[in-house]
Symmetry: C2
Subunit: 314 residues, 2 copies
Amino acid sequence: MAKCRVCGAPAEAYLDYSRTYLCPRCFNDYYERKVRATIQRFKMIKPNDRVLVAVSGGKDSASLLAVLRKLLPDVEMTALYINLGIPQYSDHCEEKFKKITEVLGVESLVFDLKRELGFSIPDFRRTVYRRRLCSPCGTIKRYLMNKIAVEQGFSKLATGHHMDDIVETLFNSYLHGDVEQIVRLKPVLPSTHPKFVAKIKPLWNVTEQENLFYATYNELPVRTVGCPLAKGARSLEQKRYLSSLVEHIPNFRHVFLSSHMRKLLPALERSITAPPLKECKKCGMPTSGEVCAFCRRAELVLGKILNQSPKFKV
Amino acid sequence: MAKCRVCGAPAEAYLDYSRTYLCPRCFNDYYERKVRATIQRFKMIKPNDRVLVAVSGGKDSASLLAVLRKLLPDVEMTALYINLGIPQYSDHCEEKFKKITEVLGVESLVFDLKRELGFSIPDFRRTVYRRRLCSPCGTIKRYLMNKIAVEQGFSKLATGHHMDDIVETLFNSYLHGDVEQIVRLKPVLPSTHPKFVAKIKPLWNVTEQENLFYATYNELPVRTVGCPLAKGARSLEQKRYLSSLVEHIPNFRHVFLSSHMRKLLPALERSITAPPLKECKKCGMPTSGEVCAFCRRAELVLGKILNQSPKFKV
């Protein structure tokens, strides 16, 4: 049996990118040190910040909440769950959310899409979205997380995006030459508008597998079912070909992300100017167009359900 | 048996990136149209150009010479072979070179490294190069091709680099954030100094597999052995992981190269300035340092063989 590289105890975690075996205890130390280093390096959280942590019920955001609570016991922190109304999934995730906030003693906030706005994610079926609903779901969640954070006076919104997520998105953006998207993906997105909260990604430097280890070794209550609407999603397909790259080059994600941050991003940023922000004609939130992506989608789905204009308020 | 998509005859060539079957004749047409389009799009060759074509004895540069001769029968063209002095390889390749220039009726020029400069590529063994000699070999070839072209008054140097080569190099440069290398790799590298010939890559848009088909269907005499010094070369390892990407995304190379050319390269070029050129203190050729990479390597190897300073001339 493999032994922990640090203490020699029986190992359980194997880190493919550095070919390292660690026992659960030394792994937890390592994980927490990495997250602390990320928070410090990018100056993510100050002592007087009020942090809203987006928690989905999955292992990644559960690990995020647990590690933030542990590393920053004195920072004001609230966990947000958005119930998307997906049958056999959202209520299960909400239960896990309630358990984990109880276990960790973190204040919690639940936003129920159907109750508050009159629609849920499955209502997007048979609108313009012929296949998967991941795209409108992402738009709705991003909008609401920001809006709730702004309205309730939080200074930071923390999400559980990890290195695999980030490298997948970046790889795809490079593949398609989407320079605007490349320069937008950062560990810290400062607030550029009073109605934009600053967004932080404290798990920027840890892999998905490391979140799984951390959630397991700390016995975090996490969801045991996957989203039924995500089956065959493009992001899952991307995970597969990135896995095959990682098989050939075990530290592919680390090398690529480091090169991106040190060399490519600074070069690309020098040549790009952000589009000016306007205010959405429907909801007043900042957007680059006339009507924001959230309002366009909400109108579409409410038009379908109620055959009426949206009169929602958050 | 699969049928040619164009004429319905029995197909022999399968193009993975577009899932197309073609018969040899329609494939040849397709290949030649693609190369012509590349030459025209990037304005590679004018009627009064004198073109030096670098030919190695392999399928890629053989296809290059054949297609250039066919597409541009009135352009002055000379094929250059550099005998690198690699046992069981270089003489075999030179024979193929002689055959193909005879078959195609192209003027030929042979440069014998050992005879002209007093060293050959295997002499680099047991110098600072502990493992493979691909890196000094590349430096020596690039230097000589340019120098010979300049001294003999050619206006263009054409090489057989194909899409797989280019995507491999680019992918690796992006992976390591080598922005200088990224902006240097172009279908046409114009002459920026009287001692730099303009360099063109007419096979920019065809894959390695397409060169193999073209060489086969046109019965071009090409080498049947591989370089004994390249075994386990990094470029071969890179080919493997790019193959695994192409399995997942059949048009990966095409999409990436197109995004690079349209979006990423222009953005990166805006933020980079080329280092100023000086003249090499030893040979007078342009270089960014004090002594050019060729002279540093030649000194190294001549010091080892002859225990004397280099007194070579090209």
